[in-house]
Amino acid sequence: MTDDLRVTAAEPAGPDTVLELRGITKRFGDLVANDGIDFDVGRGEIHALLGENGAGKTTVMRIAYGLNRADAGEIRVEGRPVEMRSPRDAIEAGVGMVTQHFSLVRPMTVAENLALGRSGGFRLDLDAARRAVADASARFGIRVAADAVVGDLSVGEQQRVEILKALARDCRVLILDEPTAVLVPQEVDALFATLRRLVGEGLGVVFISHKLGEVRAISDRVSVLRRGRMIGTVPGTTEERELARMMVGRPTFGVERAGSGAGADAARVLEIRDLRALGPQGVAAVDGLSLSVAAGEVLGVAGVSGNGQTELVDVLAGMRVPVSGSVQVDGTEIAGLPPARVMAAGVGRIPEDRHASLIPDLSVAYNLVLERLADFRVSGRLDERAIRAHADELIERFSIKARPDDRVGSLSGGNIQKVLLARVLARDPRVIVVSQPTRGLDVGATEYVRAQLLERRAAGAAILLVSEDLDELLELADRLVVIYEGRIVGEMAVDDADPERLGMLMAGREAAA
């Protein structure tokens, strides 16, 4: 592969280097997550770490922050080797990290979160934390109320608290793991402004992302990881296409679409009207949502996560009782029915959390029949032979790499998804509700899953596809709707989709067209 020659030689880091990783290797069982990775970031520099899901970006930075331990390699901070046994070591060395799952204690105030883990007197000094908040506000323009309870803050505000926490510990290098994944565009702009002020003050920033546009917008340098290996480091001005090539390693070959989408007059199989459902905080997460999907159509639902997608899928899966509204499958009302009745109405469900949708500690064979135990019963007992035959057949048909007796939890993510897919598709559902179907899967499994969904579409199923991956939506969907704050705010045929308008809709910046 010629593109691998692009690797810049690992030259010794300059005097301004704050954080330097040399030869970091990390294995999880058979999986090599990081394979001898070199990386460095300098003072006043934003260095992006780019790569696809599963490329090993997060792992290498968790190692730099002491959350994981490397099997091999060296970490230096300002030239001195540091052993990162725990985040405490990282913090002492001047490394801060904002992880994707915020490390905040939600029932506590911002000041308490800032004070947590700080060495100091036995008496809790919340005033010092309050001063730190005021100071950060003045120096970096990061505004947060010190005595607000974290659980009450918006996601963007919580992220600011995380950055504050790192700054309050006098970090000299700040690692941000996919910081924009949960933000709407305006918040992204604010974050970038903050980051620029931080590097202006001499901080080094590591920016983990898989979004090319962002990486180019903010970074001085970009390093690309692919399947655990460092592919190369290039200037932040590098062309998007070049970055994409480094990231993917080969031109993506799209899935062949079998036939065109459903005609305008195709029967509406799934009809949702004025649906309202509460989210975890008891506020309306789905708030008057209406949409419909026709037979042989894939309807893509785009949106920033946390805008009601999870709750919508939960309602359609029978896992959440809506407050009001109607969900009809072929004219049969299913809103509020339990999962068994929803399935009986012809709905197949593949939610984003595939692990929680199966019983990881039961065998593949049992998981495959769990939805329809009544069909596998002879005179009151389990028909083990039929269960096994069923498993053998589906394992073959969906090329699942597993034996019937394997625990589902011991399989790879792709095979777990195939088990769920097999369980659902074996019943020929009229409607398929699927969310983030390829998240975390490798390329092969991703393509397999997408092809299976398109095959179903060709066979006349109505498919509701919720995804945060715009590329996936553009590839699979016939029609797109955008969900924002629990409502559909825009709709377009996929051929008319333009990224700018989609982005605006997802940010809630444009009313329904």
Binding site: M97, S103, R123
Partner: protein, 304 residues
């Protein structure tokens, strides 16, 4: 009036072991560990306190022995649930079975005769005898004064106003976050459980060292379980838990007094005694879904 003052004085007295136990259990649970070893820890505290006091003649040494046994009990519970990540319910029940068994075993070994061994119980303090009837209220054991005037306020202050308390609450709510902030999750839980164990054991020792002056089988009689209930009743707050202990003891003391009054003798007092348990269950049922358990309740923490 005498009746009322007596009743209130008895309420404070009977609440004392519950206060120690409840505060101790609150510390355990706020750090994320449900310690069902409390019943056994109180039992072992009662026995070890008595045995040490009987062998040395010093109730203070007895108290010290109970404290050490409590720390030890908390350490075992920590080792199982924090270091090994074992199931908390089962570990707690095992600890209780083991500690009760060990106490009774040691009791048989040390006090071989058939006579009931006795020690001189700790004296009652009576600072306000001069003010008449109401002074009865203050006629209490030193451990009762310590419980209400020292342990409760200090325990509250440490939990809410010290950096250690902040760490305890954080590892109980979100150990990942605490870890990422540089808090040693395991050490914090060990400390919380050991402090909790020491308090529970002192609560147990109160029976033998102060009230009875002797050790009898089944001396704790489920009071440890009551403390577990009171912690939840008090929603993991120190003062609310103590309030629960006071209410429980009030009912307990009341039935005890009614029982000896003429005309009340035939009432089914067992029913009244069961009332506090049922009230706690009812309270749980009523607050139901709104109970805000500590976020990491029952969850062991282990970094990848």
């Amino acid at each position: 009036m005498t009746f009322i003052f007596d009743l209130l004085a008895a309420t404070l007295r009977n609440a004392t072991p519950l206060v120690y136990g409840t505060v101790g259990e609150t510390y355990s649970e706020r750090s994320g560990v449900l310690n069902l070893g409390i019943e056994g820890t109180m039992y072992a505290g009662a026995f070890s306190g008595f045995a040490a006091a009987a062998l040395t003649g010093s109730p203070l040494i007895g108290l010290l022995a109970a404290l050490v046994v409590g720390l030890f009990s908390g350490a075992i519970m920590s080792f199982l649930t924090v270091t090994l990540g074992a199931n908390q319910h089962v570990s707690g029940i095992g600890l209780t079975i083991g500690l009760i068994g060990a106490s009774e075993f040691a009791n048989r070994l040390i006090f071989t005769g058939t006579d009931l061994q006795r020690i001189e119980p700790m004296p009652l303090l009576d600072p306000l005898a001069a003010i008449g009837e109401g002074g009865v209220l203050f006629q209490q054991y030193a451990l009762t004064y310590v419980a209400f005037l020292v342990v409760v306020p200090v325990a509250w202050w440490v939990l809410q106003r010290s950096s250690f308390g902040l760490e305890v609450r954080a590892v109980g709510e979100n150990p990942e976050a605490a870890d990422a902030a540089g808090v040693n999750v395991a050490r914090t839980r060990y400390l919380a459980l050991m402090i909790g164990g020491a308090l529970m054991a002192i609560g147990g020792a109160f029976f033998t060292l102060a009230v009875l002056g002797s050790f009898t089988l089944d001396i704790i009689a489920g009071r440890g379980w009551v403390c577990v209930a009171l912690v939840i009743f008090g929603r993991w707050r120190i003062f609310r838990g103590v309030l629960g202990a006071l209410i429980f003891s009030f009912v307990f003391s009341l039935q005890f007094r009614l029982r000896i009054l003429p005309g009340f003798g035939e009432l089914p007092f067992e029913l009244l005694l069961a009332l506090p348990y049922l009230v706690v269950i009812l309270a749980l049922a009523l607050s139901g879904r709104n109970v805000a358990y500590p976020g990491a309740y029952l969850k062991p923490y282990r970094r990848a």
